[in-house]
């Protein structure tokens, strides 16, 4: 024992106690330093990571902004779409659940099982959709049985709905699921995969205004991803309200006037360039695209030989036919190659360069002045005038009116048409220009192509004596607090100068077309309003004049060979308000096929103006 004590009292051993205590303290100090590093220095980082661990953000879709007509009438809106989903975490026995649910939803149990399996790749806090866009009836049925259906949710979300069933589909556009390319383009910053975005027209071009801002639900989850509670909700901000320049009622009338015929029609305000109506026939229902179009519907639309998806107003290129004669007349008056009263003879045909070019009237028109030539659309008269004027002067005049270039329609898809010149032909065909080509260009055939939009802009410029206007489709865009985000102002692209006499001569001729006996546009005649117009019948396929026409069983020209019918008009002639371009594809004759459509549009326009005036007067009285 004594030995024991002696050893213990040795300074070296005593120091060992001290050393061990100090060592333990040092180790604990190290642990404390580490804790300091984690809890004080690293606090923010770890705090954030712990928050990220336990929270998940669920996006709340923003309702897309509605689209109104110029008078505030709804054209495109959202309708509630009911979705039945299931929270996997709340289901104990899914087979029992499916057995109860299947008859309520009118689906097979296997379908529900399939959907469930599909949903397993998502985190458990995300509801799995079992049935989408079900009827209100089914939704209510499911809600009634809610107690027996643990974990089943009924969700409502906004889905795009076209109240006009496609009447203005080519102007308003449609939606589609966002593509990978779009996601990466940077134009769709707040979108994520699976979202729907505007694909065409207004829905596409003004998507940034329409999309709104997504809301968020911040939820707390546990380690299995089980949703525990909602921490925060940021409601979505609905998209802005777009007011188009379109007049819903005029649009309906324009669309209806076509019946089953194909073609395009556009109504412009001659003073502002606003598009009041715009129809491309046949049309489609954008509602089909609201939640992804069925592949058979899509195939049907794409394969339809009458191209329902194409906006023929801006993308359909047609030979303008006799509607081009107005430009020829104006150009010749400016060049001084004719005067307003000069009379030129037509014996039914015209020969140049060894070819014979016939007038539509085989017997000929005899001597005509400008007015008669326009009224009766004498081809020979214009052959001669055009040839004397020359192709380059003629083309220059046409280009002034906005032909041959995009007119500046504010949305994508516009075609530029063709206005040929000698140089143009050299470039495209590497061949010289022939006199005969000037001859047929003078009646809007040959190489000349124009879109209905271009023709309407041209007609508006003739009606307002030279103002070439940029077409407008948006009147204004407002947010829900009433702030104006965008307001369109009329834009004059160009002022064309002709003498007052020249304008008047041509305008008088156009009035005669509709209002005088033997006028080709009599079909558009209206008693209450003076209409000015010009018909056009354009060959679809150029064929040699002597060639025998092949006929179908009924003795008629087959549909695809029938000429397009065109009619340009403005009204009222004394003080023009609207300009119209109508093309009826394969409609045969401008006067008889397109004339009645023009007539209906103007008639409806005047009615609507009358109603508005009436309302105004009533308003004043009150």
């Amino acid at each position: 024992m004594g030995l024991d004590l002696k050893w213990k009292e040795l300074p070296a051993v005593q120091r060992r106690f001290l050393f061990y205590s100090a060592a333990a303290a040092t180790v604990f100090l190290l642990l404390l330093l580490r804790l300091w590093y984690l809890q004080i220095i690293g606090y923010e980082d770890f705090q954030e990571r712990s928050v990220r661990n336990r929270t998940r953000i669920l996006a709340l879709e923003a309702p897309r902004g509605p689209i109104f007509d110029r008078n505030g009438l709804l054209l495109v809106d959202n309708r509630p779409s009911f979705k039945i989903s299931v929270m996997r975490q709340d289901v104990e026995n899914r087979f029992l659940l499916f057995e109860r649910l299947a008859p309520l939803l009118d689906v097979e149990i296997s379908e529900l099982e399939f959907r469930w399996q599909q949903g397993r790749r998502f985190p458990i806090y995300r509801p799995v959709p079992l049935a989408e866009d079900v009827s209100r009836e089914i939704m209510e049925r499911v809600q009634e049985h809610g107690v027996d259906l643990p974990g089943v949710l009924t969700e409502v979300r906004p889905v795009r709905d076209d109240l006009e069933h496609g009447s203005a589909a080519h102007l308003t556009g449609y939606l589609g699921e966002i593509t990978e390319a779009e996601l990466q383009s940077g134009d769709f910053n707040n979108y994520s995969g699976g979202d729907y975005v505007g694909k065409t027209a207004v829905e596409r071009t003004f998507d940034p205004y329409l999309r709104g801002e997504k809301g968020q639900r911040l939820v707390e989850v546990d380690v299995q991803g089980k949703l525990l509670r909602q921490l925060k909700v940021e409601p979505p901000r609905p998209g802005n309200k777009i007011y188009l320049t379109l007049d819903r009622d005029l649009q309906r009338a324009t669309d209806d006037a076509f019946g089953s015929q194909s073609g395009a029609a556009i109504v412009l305000d001659v003073n502002t360039g606003e598009v009041l109506a715009m129809a491309s026939r046949p049309t489609f229902n954008p509602a089909l695209f609201a939640r992804g179009i069925a592949s058979e519907d899509w195939r049907e639309l794409v394969q339809d030989s009458r191209h329902p998806l194409q906006n023929k107003v801006i993308a359909g290129q047609y030979p303008p036919g006799s509607t081009f004669k107005m430009v020829v007349a104006l150009a010749a008056l400016r060049a001084g190659t004719i005067s307003t009263t000069q009379r030129i003879d037509c014996d039914g045909a015209f020969e140049v360069g060894g070819s014979r070019y016939r007038c539509w009237k085989k017997s000929g028109h005899g001597f005509s002045d400008l007015k008669k030539a326009l009224r009766e659309s004498c081809d020979v008269w214009f052959y001669k005038v055009g040839l004397e004027l020359g192709i380059d002067k003629l083309s220059a005049a046409a280009k002034e009116f906005g032909l041959g270039f995009p007119v500046g329609y504010p949305m994508p898809g516009e075609r530029s048409g063709v206005i040929p010149t000698q140089e143009w032909k050299h470039q495209h065909y590497n061949k010289p220009w022939y006199a005969g080509e000037t001859v047929i260009t003078s009646i809007g055939q040959g190489f000349v192509l124009a879109t209905p939009m271009q023709l309407a802009v041209m007609m508006a410029a003739i009606a307002n004596s030279g103002k070439v206007l940029k077409p407008q489709v948006i009147r204004q865009i407002e947010d829900w607090e009433g702030h104006l985000l965008l307001q369109a102002n009329p834009e004059v692209v160009r002022q064309i100068n002709y003498s007052t006499e020249a304008w008047k001569a041509v305008q008088d001729g156009l009035v005669a077309v509709v209002n005088e006996p033997r006028g080709t546009g009599r079909a558009a005649y209206l008693e209450d309003v003076l209409v000015a117009g010009k018909t056009g019948t354009s060959q679809v396929i150029r064929r040699k004049s002597d060639e025998e026409e092949e006929l179908d069983e009924k003795g008629e020209t087959p549909y695809r060979f029938r000429p397009h019918a065109l009619f340009l008009a403005y009204a009222p002639a004394e003080k023009p308000e609207i300009a119209i371009a109508v093309v009826v594809e394969h409609g045969r004759s401008g006067g008889s096929a397109a004339g009645p459509i023009v007539k209906q549009i103007i008639q409806r326009y005047m009615e609507l103006q009358g109603e508005q005036k009436g309302q105004l007067q009533q308003g004043r009285k009150e």
């Binding site: 024992m1 030995l3 024991d4 050893w7 213990k8 040795l10 070296a12 051993v13 005593q14 060992r16 106690f17 061990y20 205590s21 333990a24 303290a25 180790v27 604990f28 190290l30 642990l31 404390l32 580490r34 804790l35 300091w36 984690l38 809890q39 004080i40 690293g42 606090y43 980082d45 770890f46 705090q47 990571r49 712990s50 928050v51 661990n53 336990r54 707390e220 989850v221 546990d222 380690v223 299995q224 525990l228």
Partner: protein, 365 residues
Amino acid sequence: MFDRRLVSHFDWVLLLTVLLLAGIGIVNLFSATASWNSTTTPLYLKQLLWLSGGVLIALIICLFDYRHLEYFAVHFYGLSIGMLVYVLFMGKTTMGATRWIDLGFFNLQPGEVVKIAVILLLARYFGKTANSFGYSLFELLKPTLWLLLPVVLVLKEPDLGTAAMVVSIAATMLLFAGLKRGTLIGLGLIGVLTAVVGWFGLHDYQRARIRTFMNPEADPLGSGYHIIQSKIAVGSGGFFGKGFIQGTQSQLSFLPERHTDFAFSVFAEEWGFAGSLVLLFLYLFLIVWGLYVARRAADRFGLFLAVGVTAMIFWHIVVNLGMVIGLLPVVGVPLPLFSYGGTSMVTTMIGVGLLMNVSMRRFKF
């Protein structure tokens, strides 16, 4: 026979420190398991039961003079080796490791018994062989062999944590006994060599744990998950903590093993740096007090016994805390008095009982 000095010398400080730590541990356990909707007895109550049992055992140990244990140390060592051999062949296997003997009401871990047995045996050896100038390598051959036998058996289970723990305790006692300079260097070399060879003898999961410890972010969902989640829990506690039962990492189950090995992470998350500071201070106090007990011990056996027990508690604390705050690899070592578990509690309390025994018999005659 009964000596009144036993009462006057009773180490109240030690007992109170232990009870305080265990009390905090039970409160913490209440929070760690708060989100469990179990129908059986709550874990914190069970732990309270283990603590009561442990205190009882400690008191019983105090009744006998620890010097009698010097004699039984060899028998006890033999018994523990027997248990290790038994467990190797007939033990209960969970998660690829065989560590338990099923006693029906209780799963006995021979690995824990071995710690006490080795402490007793080494205390006996160093108590008997007085050497003022340090031990030579040759003199240490016998205790080294005694040590190696259970260590190899434990590694066979395999239980790297316990093996490392037993070696650490033994090394601490050895260093205290004193070594010749050459012996120290020689042992150091042997240690390094063993580590190199041992690396290849490790199980894949053990190697993965060490690799993951080096770089936990490389495998955040696999073996790195424990460390990352624990660090997030601790770090997000900040200075004052998230509050009792407010720790999101623990309450939402992001923290694994939060009632056992990672109990401290729960505490650090909910009580912050401030709470951790207090807890660490208490633990350090316990260690320093243990060394104080050793210093006042009446004989060399008692001294080494106290050093051994203190080393056992110390290494458990350091390895566990080092693990949960990302300083050491994840080895399944519980935090004494804090982690849930009967074996750990009983082992610790046996150690505490031995300390108290040595402490209250510090008078010389």
